[in-house]
Amino acid sequence: MHKYASPKFFYSLAGRMTPWLGGVTALLLLSGLYLGLFVAPPDYQQGESYRIMFIHVPAAWMSMFVYMLMAGSGAVALVWNIKLAEIFASCSAPIGASFTFLALVTGSLWGKPMWGTWWVWDARLTSELILFFLYIGYMALEASIDDPRRAARASAILALVGVVNIPVIHFSVQWWNTLHQPASVSKMGVPTIATSMLIPLLLMALAFTVYFFVAVLIRMRNDILERERHTGWVAQMLESKP
């Protein structure tokens, strides 16, 4: 197990894994988009514009999932002092923030034809916005500490505090929303979703997940090179590969 956690071994392992995972991502993405954009029937209420869902919902799922992963690996890094977990946490933050941003943008694009405005203080959109702020705070804290080990530990504590708060924030916002907008429009208009729409949605969610791992592996490889640039194996590799 320790072998896998050494940056040197992980660097080459990640290098071998990324092309395969990238291929899987492309396959899932293409099939999901094809089924979602061409095969799935238009919604009887929302027409064609509901298809934004195939990007929006997976992005929103990923934004939460990545934060959980980040906090989890931060905890691992704090408890067992594993360098790789620190690198994983710091590399996944910008990707998670991008997913959150994507969810916000697509949500607003969806809101325009559905509700007639770019922004609605809908419970889900609002908690997504606060999640975005949490990501920004995490990245700002990490960027302002020069020593990477110290930065990783400080931001891991912040991520753990954030992860305790996310459910609290989510339910508070939901409560606040029902108080202020009794007839709030539910985003997923239909409670049960047709199979022809569900399959592309799940494919897209899977594609986003695999894509996240590809992106995080590539980022981690760069980060490892930067952190280990003074060690022998990096120098050796750079010499052998002109």
Binding site: F133, A140, L141, S144, I157, V164, V168, I169, S172, V173
Partner: protein, 225 residues
């Protein structure tokens, strides 16, 4: 054990004494709180019905910002002169000492905010029934602000641009308190039952009291490394 209690009492009294010697530090957030709230009628016009509807949110947001401004005082001076390192080395749990520091911080920032809030409520034309709610929700909510703020202050200790950074870390975490604090006051104005708001604010306080000193102590240890 008596030693620990003695240490707690000593630290609390020391923090109060140090802060009272530099009383402008205590007054600044308070004046800030008053000025921010007073600016809103100037910006929105003196219509009492408008002011009444926005008052709960305005007062609560101003309290959030005032608390945030004062967070810098929590650890920065002790960090600069090395006292904080001695506390970390002391034979008492750092978590308890941090909790004491938070308590004294609240006594010097949160409590004055609570005490001055009725005046601002009158300024904003809040009905009298809502003023007592405002005081009680602030009493329950401001300790949470100090507790969560301590985590942010500990994380940003000694960093460049720490003051702005702490707001970025802490303000998103303040949203639940803001929602239920301001919601309770607005609920009284709108004649809604607000029992649940009190319960939830109390729950936040218990949650923050349990975890925040612990997280702040861990963050201090990282910052002192």
């Amino acid at each position: 054990m008596p030693n620990l209690i003695k240490a707690i009492v000593c630290l609390f009294r020391r923090d109060l004494t140090v802060a009272l010697r530099r009383s402008t530090d205590i007054l600044t957030p308070l004046v800030f709180f008053t000025i921010v709230v007073s600016l809103f009628p100037l910006g929105l016009g003196p219509e009492p019905s408008v002011l009444r509807t926005i008052a709960p949110g305005v007062i609560w947001v101003a309290a959030l910002l005032a608390t945030m401004l004062s967070l810098n005082r929590l650890f920065a001076n002790d960090y600069a002169d090395g006292t904080l390192e001695q506390m970390a080395l002391a034979p008492y749990p750092l978590t308890v000492l941090v909790l004491v520091k938070i308590a004294s911080h609240w006594a010097l920032t949160g409590l004055p905010l609570v005490l001055i809030s009725p005046l601002l409520a009158l300024q904003m034309h809040l009905p009298e029934s809502a003023i007592s709610t405002l005081i009680f929700t602030l009493l329950l909510g401001t300790p949470v602000l100090s507790l969560l703020g301590a985590v942010g202050a500990a994380l940003t200790l000694g960093l460049r641009g720490g003051g702005v950074l702490v707001s970025l870390l802490v303000l998103p975490l303040y949203t639940p308190v803001l929602i239920f604090g301001a919601g309770a006051v607005a609920g009284v104005v709108a004649d809604i039952d607000i029992q649940a708001h009190y319960s939830l604010l109390g729950a936040f306080l218990v949650l923050a009291l349990t975890f925040a000193p612990w997280a702040a102590a861990a963050a201090l240890r990282v910052s002192l490394d």
